[in-house]
């Protein structure tokens, strides 16, 4: 299992969905950080302690986009990816990640 700290290893201020939204966008986090880790380990744990922003456009693109863009099967993502936090204020974002994954459907075009 690999644990990644979002704030320390990506950015404490993630925001935006696409590359033209800035350096710390959801698509970049998903494709350049998260997916390469899935090739190295069976389980990847994302620790969100210390983030100052976690807007839904970023968070949805990370989790929902994973399934929508067919980067990984939904069931596989649900079993191999985990979001954890020790901060009570951030607990709802753990549930939000799960619901984004659960609600997403693969795009028919891609």
């Amino acid at each position: 299992m690999i644990t990644l700290n979002l704030a320390k290893e990506f950015s404490p201020y993630p925001a935006g969905r696409y590359p033209d939204d800035g350096d710390f966008n959801g698509q970049r986090f998903r494709d350049k950080v998260l997916l390469p880790l899935l090739e190295k380990a069976r389980i990847v744990q994302v620790n969100i302690d210390g983030v100052a922003t976690l807007p839904s456009s970023f968070w949805e693109e990370t989790w929902g986009g994973m399934v929508r863009k067919r980067r990984i099967e939904k069931a596989e993502a649900q079993s191999r990816l985990m979001v954890v936090t020790s901060e009570p204020d951030l607990e709802r974002y753990v549930d939000l990640a799960k619901s984004f994954l659960a609600e997403a459907e693969p795009d028919s075009a891609t």
Binding site: P12, A15, D20, D21, T53, L54, P55, S56, S57, S99
Partner: protein, 381 residues
């Protein structure tokens, strides 16, 4: 000759149908004509809106090629909406040159002067929109100077506190200033950007809390609300295929925070000069999901109804793949904390969202130029 006359015949045939059935452009000349038509329609709508507003005193000094515009004494979108908007639209018109055209050379030959000395008071939201207009004006024209030694002390201190002199790259003329009079408003330095910026959002919130010594709201949720407002401005406010009759806006968002100690009111504001939510939602992929909500909320489909439908979109729709949450997330923390309100002014719509999902909507006579999003919390005097 035969070719030219055939083109001319086609031109008049198409011209007779303009406005009824736009045709797909096939040649460069067609594209130029379509663009000219779109600009004319956009300018006609702008002029029609200006006609409904009080006239802005303006005079031209021909020998000096100078246009002098007189603003209202109280710039406020909540207390003096129409006069304030009329002045702001006049500023926008002046970006297009003295004849409302787009000729940069003609613009450079004329100079604009705003009688800033006539302004006695500026509200934080109106101040932000004014800053955006002046900032865009500066982008277009290049250089501005100020006669701030003649200004009212409230306006001078407002410009100094909000960092407007620096934002506009203007050197203030007066070194000493009298303190502001009347109800005190402390304003954070204005900032601008074009993409969502989490660090700026966090800084804005923390600076506002430091200014008033109170917590504005839950840190992450407030930051997220600001980030989503920035993201919406970046994704939707300035569609690439939009035709502007005046110089295209630079594509920024502007934001600030304000604190009124006498009433204990804190504001966070974000503004963009884009086409507005009522125009962008019908063009988005969420329109099909928003339409049933809009038909239920406001069968007349007014601008305020469209904004409310956008706010309701995520809460009531569970099948839109998590997208379309932007506006909902801006209001979410108001519900969590049960305090304050969110106000969205866009197009002709004004929507206020209060705790408990109480939404109040009204439609204005004249469309606002852009989208203004304002969160207000009252902590008591």
């Amino acid at each position: 000759m035969k070719y030219l006359s055939e083109r001319r015949r086609r031109y008049f045939a198409r011209k007779s149908r303009w406005g009824l059935l736009p045709r797909r452009s096939t040649t460069g000349a067609d594209k130029v004509r379509s663009l000219a038509l779109a600009k004319a329609v956009s300018k006609r709508d702008f002029d029609a809106a200006v006609e409904l507003l009080p006239a802005v005193p303006k005079r031209r000094v021909g020998e000096e090629r100078l246009i002098i515009t007189t603003p209202p004494s109280h710039l406020s979108l909540s207390e003096n909406y129409e006069e304030t908007l009329a002045f702001l639209m006049e500023l926008r018109r002046s970006r297009a040159g003295p004849k409302g055209g787009l000729n940069r050379n003609v613009m450079r030959q004329w100079r604009s002067h705003i009688e800033m000395a006539d302004i006695k008071q500026i509200g934080p939201a109106a101040g932000l929109v004014l800053a955006a207009e002046l900032d865009s004006f500066r982008h277009r024209v290049g250089r501005m100077t100020s006669l701030d030694q003649t200004w009212h002390e409230n306006v001078r201190s407002f410009f100094a506190d909000s960092g407007l002199f620096e934002l506009l790259d203007v050197k203030p003329q007066s070194v000493s200033s009298k303190p502001a009079v009347g109800p005190l408003t402390k304003v954070l330095k204005y900032r601008r950007g074009s993409t969502p910026d989490g660090q700026q959002a966090d800084l804005l919130r923390s600076e506002l809390e430091a200014l008033c010594g109170e917590k504005f709201g839950p840190r992450i949720e407030v930051n997220n609300a600001l980030c989503e407002a920035m993201t919406n401005a970046h994704h939707h406010a300035y569609p690439p295929d939009q035709v502007w009759w005046h110089a295209p806006p630079p594509g920024y968002w502007w934001s600030t925070g304000a604190w009124m100690p006498e009433t204990g009111t804190m504001h966070m504001i974000l503004y963009d000069q884009g086409v507005g939510i009522p125009k962008t939602l019908p063009r988005s992929s969420h329109w099909a999901s928003a339409l049933p909500i809009l038909n239920r909320l406001d069968p007349e489909r007014t601008d305020a109804g469209v904004i409310e439908a956008a706010l309701e979109l995520r809460r009531t729709s569970t099948h839109i793949s998590g997208r379309g949450r932007g506006l909902y997330e801006m209001a979410e923390w108001i519900d969590q904390t049960q305090s304050g309100f969110l106000r969205i002014l866009s197009g002709k719509g004004l929507v206020t969202y209060r705790p408990g999902r109480r939404v109040q909507r009204s439609n204005l006579r004249v469309p606002f130029q852009g989208t203004l999003i304002e969160w207000e919390i009252n902590r008591g005097a």
